[in-house]
């Protein structure tokens, strides 16, 4: 299929990550009494952003990067 699924996944996770980071930075710290005093939006937003970036990188490399020698990218079809 022409669409590498890692691109949309990377995109949505990067968007969620950025949203949570920005919200985490500007939100009222009192909010985080509920999450044991951890600014969970900031922390988890960062994790999501890193994951999203990795997926975007892998997806973009396979879709737009140089083609591997074997166009199927793996073992031949049976």
């Amino acid at each position: 299929m022409g669409l590498d699924i890692r691109l949309p996944i990377g995109m949505i996770f990067a968007i969620f990550g950025i949203m949570l980071i920005v919200f985490g930075v500007f939100s009222n710290p009192a909010l985080y009494a509920q999450s044991l005093g951890i600014n969970i939006n900031l922390v988890w937003g960062s994790v999501l952003l890193v994951f999203g970036a990795v997926m975007l990188f892998l997806g973009a490399r396979s879709m737009f990067g140089p083609r591997p020698a074997n166009p199927q990218g793996g073992e031949p079809r049976h």
């Binding site: 299929m1 996770f13 969620f16 985080y32 509920q34 969970i40 988890w44």
Partner: protein, 597 residues
């Protein structure tokens, strides 16, 4: 609870992506093979994640958390002796026949291997089952949205009656799933399942992390709950010394062998994901790749239940009831409230007069407990994603079986490919319409759903015996398979009619003809029903096969083990070989069983 703009935006972004994936894939849907089989072009890891995600519906996420709260670590048996060995078996031993036969569905394999009537029986019962499963998923989601009250405020603001929250939940989920499957077929369902898989993981890891931190880690959990919650094998010597009420033999044979192999090896809902793979090697790796995260899922879906019940019980809280009235909730345990009767609003009592707990709320309540606004949107999106992936899995399995195994052979054979592609899209529409009808049926008659699930259990229990004999014994005949399946189903029904779990009233729980035997728990009764059904089907199929005419061996090449060439895998690197992968996965599973014994 306080949902703010950011939570709504997160949910909106998710819906936009789900629909966007469907729209982006629409232009690739040219033939019926594109629509029903994703053109057999999906890489193994994508199929693998879709393979578990299709099963990761409401039952899994809400239900496993509920079982964790009720039974503790014993729930891990559904994974570590249930799903994993079965997934390894289907990948290593069965996939060569499913994928190699070029059958487009599981019922179609049955026609190739046995005969038309066996396929018809399987196709019709399976199609009915998928419709009701997706209806139940829809119902459960709408009910949850209602129970969590997170749509109450916006509905009040726009002056929409609160009764519409339930309808909105049903209609919106139905429309979203309909749109993306109609546009992109199985590819769209698989791609969205992979997205849903990552979202569920992303929503649940922080939940478990915060929860474990709060209760003082593993040792704190142990201290709060005591040994009966914390062991998976100790106490299985007798049904009276563990929370499941089953002894080890019933558990390993009933759950580990019959039920799990029956589901993971023969249910087209999951097998379809592997059939979409781009090569035989990928198809065989699909369930094995799926087994790796599946092995770790107990930590993600069972632990929240344990944490929810281990937390200190809060004093009776005042909640916003329907129409904004204040309701005093009776005491539950931990974060799990007492179960309230849907019509009277009174607590439901068990036989000894204690209030029953509403275990299904374990996971949602934990989410509300730890997640502030922001990540709460992510958590709720994860829940919505799980409901929708469960529903979509059923819908794609339904449209394929309907088109290839009911419409094409019995209603309109030999029409062109474009016609069947159109029928697949139509089937998506009326499949979802029927699911909506099923969801509303569930609101009217609670028992109807229980009864239907019971009937499906009777139909499913013997199925694995048929496949086992079909794939590994070339002498098995079509008449044998058909009569074996029917007698297995009858045996299951008869066993259920004559036995009853302890403390139950004869009726939908069993004993509706007469009570010959009482099981210590419902679980034990289910497992033994399955064991009996499987054995009956196995024996009857063999006996009938021996007295009927042997099938023509030339017809069975590629369908039966002894007449099929072993798949070539000499050119694969070791970590891509199904057998090696399978052994490694089983090794880790044994280790997990040992650690959490």
């Amino acid at each position: 609870m306080g949902l703010t703009t950011i939570d709504w935006v997160i949910m909106a972004v998710y819906f936009a992506f789900v629909l966007g994936i469907g729209a982006a894939l629409q232009r690739y849907m040219k033939t019926s093979a594109d629509f029903f089989l994703a053109g057999r072009s999906i890489p193994a890891w994508v199929c693998g994640l879709a393979f578990i995600s299709a099963n990761l519906g409401a039952q899994e996420v809400i239900g496993m958390g509920a079982s964790g709260a009720k039974y503790g670590i014993l729930t891990s048996h559904f994974y570590w002796i249930g799903a994993i060995p079965a997934m390894v078996f289907v990948g290593v031993f069965m996939m060569p026949f499913y994928y190699g036969s070029r059958a487009r569905s599981v019922p179609e394999y049955l026609r190739l291997r046995f005969d038309e009537k066996t396929r018809g029986l399987n196709a019709i019962s399976f199609a009915t089952m998928t419709i009701f499963s997706s209806g139940i998923s829809m119902y459960a989601m709408a009910k949850l949205i209602q129970t969590l009250h997170f749509l109450d405020a916006p509905f009040r603001r726009f002056g929409i009656p609160q009764a519409w929250i339930f309808h909105t939940g049903i209609i919106v989920s139905a429309l979203v799933v309909l749109t993306y499957i109609y546009l992109g077929g199985l590819t769209s369902a698989i791609y969205n399942e992979v997205l849903q898989f990552f979202l569920i993981v992303a929503g649940f890891i922080p939940l478990v992390w915060l929860g474990l931190k709060n209760v003082g880690g593993w040792s704190g959990l142990k201290l709060a709950l005591g040994p009966s919650y914390m062991h998976s094998w100790i106490g299985l010597g007798s049904p009276h010394t563990n929370r499941l009420g089953v002894e080890w033999f019933g558990l390993t044979m009933g759950l580990g062998f019959v039920l799990s192999f029956g589901y993971w090896c023969t249910d087209f809902l999951v097998v379809q994901r592997a059939m979409a793979a781009d090569s035989m090697a990928s198809a065989r790796r699909t369930p094995l790749i799926a087994a790796v995260p599946k092995m770790l899922f107990p930590f993600l879906v069972i632990l929240p239940g344990l944490i929810a019940i281990a937390l200190p019980t809060e004093p009776p809280a005042i909640l916003n009831g329907p129409q904004g009235s204040a309701v005093r909730t009776p005491t539950g345990q931990g974060l799990i409230p007492a179960k309230l009767d849907a019509t009277t609003g009174q607590p439901v009592l068990d036989n000894s007069g204690r209030p029953q707990l509403d275990y299904d709320l374990a996971v949602p309540n934990l989410l509300l407990h730890y997640f502030p606004t922001g990540i709460l949107g992510l958590g709720l999106t994860a829940l919505l994603a799980s409901f929708m992936s469960g529903m979509a899995g059923n819908v794609t399995a339904f449209n394929t079986v309907w088109t290839h195994d009911i419409y094409e052979p019995y209603i309109k054979p030999n029409a062109g490919d474009a016609h069947y592609l159109m029928m697949g899209r139509l089937a998506t529409i009326f499949g979802i319409a029927l699911s909506i009808a099923g969801a509303y049926l569930a609101t009217r008659f609670n028992n109807i759903m229980d009864m239907l699930q019971l009937v499906f259990a009777f139909v499913n229990a013997p199925l694995f015996a048929t496949f086992l004999l079909g794939m590994f014994w070339k002498r098995a005949t079509g008449h044998g398979a058909f009569i074996g399946l029917l007698s297995g189903t009858l045996a299951a029904a008869a066993h259920h009619a004559l036995t009853i779990p302890a403390e139950a009233i004869p009726g939908v729980k069993g004993g509706w003809l007469s009570v010959l035997h009482t099981y210590p728990s419902e679980m034990a009764q289910n497992f033994w029903t399955a064991i009996l059904a499987w054995t009956t089907c196995f024996v009857v199929t063999i006996l009938v096969s021996l007295v009927t005419k042997a099938p023509d061996e030339s017809r069975l090449v590629g369908l039966v083990y002894s007449l099929t060439e072993r798949p070539q895998e000499g050119n694969l690197r070791w970590y891509k070989r199904p057998a090696y992968l399978g052994v490694a996965i089983l090794g880790v599973t044994v280790l997990l069983n040992f650690i959490f014994r």
